[in-house]
Amino acid sequence: MNDTPLLDLSGLTKAYPGVVANDGVSLRIAPGEVHALLGENGAGKSTLVKMIYGLVKPDAGKMQMHGAGFAPAEPRAARAAGVGMVFQHFSLFDALTVAENIALGMEDAPKLRALSQRIREVSDTYGLPLSPDRVVGDLSAGERQRVEIIRCLLQDPKLLIMDEPTSVLTPQEVEILFKTLRKLSAEGTAILYISHKLEEIRALCDSATILRLGKVVGHCTPSETSARDMAEMMVGTVLKTPTRAGKTPGDVVLALTGLSAKSPSAFGMPLRDINVEVRAGEVLGIGGVAGNGQDELLAALSGETLSAPGMIAFQGRDIGVLGPTPRRAMGILTAPEERLGHAAAPDMSLTENAMLTGAARENLDRGGMLDWGAARAFAERIISTFDVRTPGPGNAARSLSGGNLQKFVIGREVLQRPDLLVVNQPTWGVDASAAAAIRQALLDLAENGAAIIAISQDLDELMEISDRFAALNEGRLSPTRPAQGLTVDEIGMMMGGAHGMEVAHV
């Protein structure tokens, strides 16, 4: 490897009111190196890359590129210096076309027709099929990511920053992405790769820097370090793996027969003819790439969308036409994916949020009068049982960090003793130890005879907690298979293989 590093960060510090997001972070990346940045949520990875990309100014420390000072005042300057970034969220415009989206991320974008031509060339070269005229709102998650990657590639970046790029991809798509990245690396482009999927990092990256609470806590060579060791460096403690006892499933709790439902949102996915049974004491894991009907399935089970008679039976009763409150009273509880605004009302206190879903089953209201004392006690019970870090139940839901709020939201449902619990992305954005606690709580609940449907995009999580596995693809649910012994390839095929890859040969 080259002696002068491509990018050399030393002593970078950035503080926000109340937190030091980065504290004296130093990092060196050589040309062509694939460097992993590892850390829990809130460890400061995003702040660090935002400084490199010019979105945030460091309070102290300096950055050098090719040995010369580098202090981008805005993303434009960073792009001009050869830094490209593929964002995790928030950087595509749904109502604009692929070419328009790409033009927006470029300096001196050529005329749209010439740009479309170049998009086609680059997408052919790197095996990322993409039509420049399509509207981004209609694209799959994998295709959207291609838009972002091509946007970066068109500017010949020296350093490509990728923020959690694989969270929305099927295993086959991940393989294709890695081929592209290896090709880029061979051409001399350095890649700064942020992820918490340790197996992927072991497969792809040359070196890794681990952040914890804003500080660099270690470096390692991923191919020579076990995933468990890396995880423990990230968390700083020894991890507990969730455990469960073998058990025999009980009676059928929920039976879906030909469940079909339109999506309530314009860019949503309708549910198509879903048939599945869930028994007491078992965990059904449902995988699939985001946007394939996960939200719609949860809404159909919670009662937010009603379905025709005969499609949903709970303990033998037809409940398709019942709304959320009667279903909750019967013991069907749900925890949706979006914490702020769906699972919890952001500006209301934890006590009020506990009241909102707990009223029916915890007797928090009597004849229309609210029993605030009982609600506060219930909220406090959730906080202590699930180790939610907050000054008290009077704090607004918005003030909690993502992981803490997630523990609250899941805990709130678990403590209501559901007969059926449906969770979507139960540990999304939650640090590893909290995630382990949530998974353990779900397993304990199943142990005590509840049926659980866990919808998730984290395949490792599903394999860890599921008894049976099924995948959603285009609103259809695959037949279920026992989770034990499933290979990643088989799961990938259940999830629909590589979306849209056949386009390449047309």
Binding site: Y16, T47, K50, G54, L55, V56, E74, P75, R76, R79, F87, F90, S91, L92, F93, D94, A95, L96, E100, A103, L104, G105, A109
Partner: protein, 306 residues
């Protein structure tokens, strides 16, 4: 009743004039909304433009200076809205309503000494032989420069939004301010410029009423055109071409009901007077039934967190 009293040439000439204030106000608001801001203060900016233009035209004797002052007055008032919504992060709906009430009051105050004054007239453009074309000539080629400027503005807005990078960036900011910010675009600056453009256009539209269409100053003389402009933008699905059609429809029916009143049709005047508002909205509602193309960030406050 004598419908033959309606002269078709004068009718066309009249409705082009009646539609012009609406065209200005609506095209300005279209640009504002494309950038993701909902400014309900159009009526207030129009009436402020109407009095600013009127006063300056009377004092200087130059109608064109009056229109320039109207644009400046409208833009200045819109800066207040920009400050409230982009810097103080106030609610856009409430700020817009406040702007309208403030503009109505301010204009009444400014206009106290101008009631009953006659403004200088803006001459028509000389199109030479074009004006001699039978029927079309007297109907279309006998107007002042501002009217044609309005048409040019609609065409230019359409072209800028569709073909230029500036237009693309503006639409991007209105579509997703978070994404635009992440790419390094200055969301607040772009929105402030759009708001000022909208204010200037509304001001010119207002001055067109006080200097050309009516020509005199009375309090509250914009009479709800600003609200129609707001409705027009929505029902035109944020498309300049459709907006022009809607404005002509409104102008046409306004002119028609005036002519019908003149011809002594046996319908109460109140029904005739409300008909342009009613028919324009009904037609546009039907037109906009296809799909709504509202900018996705419309009306949402942008705060660059970290």
């Amino acid at each position: 009743m004598d419908l033959s009293a309606i002269n078709p040439i004068l009718f066309v000439a009249g409705f082009l004039v009646a539609a012009t204030p609406l065209i200005f106000a609506a095209i300005g608001e279209l640009v504002v909304e494309k950038s993701g801001v909902l400014n309900l203060g159009v009526e207030g900016m129009m009436i402020t433009g109407a009095i600013c233009g009127f006063a300056v035209a009377v004092e200087t004797g130059s109608p064109l200076l009056g229109f320039a002052a109207a644009a400046a007055g409208g833009a200045l008032l819109s800066l207040l809205f920009a400050f409230l919504t982009q810097i103080a992060l106030a609610n856009q709906v409430a700020s817009g309503l406040a702007l309208t009430l403030f503009g109505l009051g301010l204009s009444a105050l400014l206009g106290q000494s101008y009631v009953g004054v006659k403004p200088p007239r803006l001459g028509d453009i000389d199109f030479g032989p074009l004006a001699d074309i039978p029927v079309i000539g007297p109907a279309v080629f006998t107007h002042d420069i501002i009217l044609y400027l309005g048409l040019a503005l609609v065409a230019a807005t359409w072209a800028v939004l569709k073909f230029t990078r500036a237009g693309l960036v503006l639409r991007a900011v209105g579509e997703s301010h978070d994404a635009a910010h992440a790419l390094g675009y200055h969301v607040k600056r772009i929105r402030t410029f759009a708001i000022m453009f909208g204010g200037a256009c509304a001001g010119v539209g207002g001055a067109y009423i006080s200097l050309i269409r009516v020509p005199q100053w009375t309090e509250g003389m914009t009479a709800g055109i600003g609200w129609i402009a707001l409705a027009l933008v929505v029902f035109a699905s944020w498309k300049p071409g459709r907006l022009l059609l809607g404005a002509y429809l409104f102008g046409g029916i306004t002119q028609l009901q005036l002519n019908l009143q003149g011809a002594g049709v046996a319908i109460p005047v109140e029904y005739l007077a409300m008909s342009p508002y009613l028919i324009t909205i009904i037609v546009l509602v039907i037109l906009s039934a296809d799909k709504s193309a509202a900018p996705a960030s419309l009306g949402r406050t942008f705060h660059a967190s970290q």
